[in-house]
Symmetry: C2
Subunit: 214 residues, 2 copies
């Protein structure tokens, strides 16, 4: 029973790492579609979200079955319940990448991002890629030092997010109302994406230590 | 054992209903703070969020303990796991009300909402109140016909959300970039609030039928 449990849990961990990779690719491509006004890439992100959703439902069902069949207790129970939460975060991260791609699609062949904010959006995309990569590593390695690093990445994201507003409300902003709306929303999507990655890291920490963080 | 399980589960349901009530009050007051530029009400919403968070942590711990101690299977397992998800939705709804109140606080003594959009925001507040009230009833009664009603309320919210953008991008909009940013974000908070209420109803439906909806 124990070996079967461990094997099934390993399978769940693998799927979570796969979901992280897909959510990372999605946000990376969404950023490209936004900056390059690339409709084809935007469409790819939008249709690829179904793969993440499907993985989500699969892992969820496997975790529920595992709970029902094996009735794990203590640490094992915590592992399974935490997995259920982590996949919900990852699924949501996929949605947020999709939302970014939808803004790119809505403005095509134009671009939502005026020149003075391209650098900030590019950086937000890079931070997003970095943080989801670390989240995948944390899921796989349960490295709590790495888990703590995500909090700092999230601070960087929050700083970039604030910078968007400073530029939009300053004299150098060349955009209009429509750009401001797009950028406010896109900024929020990147920020929430990073929040969910931090949430993944915190949940792994809770899984390992039994202590709630943040 | 069975009686103890039922009793503990009833306690969890009670707490979820209490959380719904608090999340409803929070959004109702947040709307008031936004429309009346009432700083005191905004501050009250912001500090009251801690109560919802605390209830969330309590219910979560009780549900995890119940899983560990009683190792429920089949329907009972589904009830407990679903509760874990529902409280996460309700906690998030409290956060979204807090975000609305923070916009009101940020603009005080001014107002974020120009006159031509006050009616739409007021309606969004009313739909939010209605939908969270129904979510509480669905949690308590497990009435699936009522659960289906929330999908329609969410459609109404989506329509109001779209109306915000139509006005902001039309000739009658009297606001500037700052207003557009605030309204885009506030609109998103109301829309997500309704989404989470729908999610609660869907989870109850899943709990009852074992069938995934939406």
């Amino acid at each position: 029973v124990r070996a079967a449990f461990t094997e099934e849990l390993d399978g769940i961990v693998e799927s979570m790492v796969a979901m992280s990779r897909l959510a990372g690719e999605a946000m990376s491509e969404a950023t490209t579609s936004l900056l390059d006004a690339d409709l084809q890439v935007a469409e790819r992100v939008i249709s690829a979200d179904e793969t993440i959703d499907q993985l989500y439902r699969e892992v969820e069902e496997r975790a529920l079955e595992l709970l029902a069949r094996q009735g794990p207790v203590a640490t094992d129970l915590r592992l399974v319940v935490t997995s259920l939460r982590i996949v919900a975060d990852l699924e949501r991260m996929g949605d947020l990448a999709l939302h970014v791609a939808k803004v790119a699609r809505r403005r095509y062949p134009g671009t939502a991002i005026p020149p003075e904010l391209r650098g900030t959006i590019r950086e937000m995309g890079e931070v997003a890629e970095g943080i989801v990569g670390k989240a995948a590593d944390v899921i796989f390695t349960r490295d709590l030092a790495l888990a703590a690093e995500l909090e700092r990445d999230d601070d960087v994201m929050d700083g970039l997010h604030r910078a968007l507003f400073t530029v939009m409300l300053g004299p150098s902003f060349t955009g209009g109302i429509e750009n401001a709306i797009d950028i406010a929303l896109v900024g929020r999507y990147y920020e929430r994406y990073a929040d969910h990655a931090v949430s993944v890291a915190r949940r792994v920490t809770f899984m390992v230590t039994g202590e709630r963080v943040g």
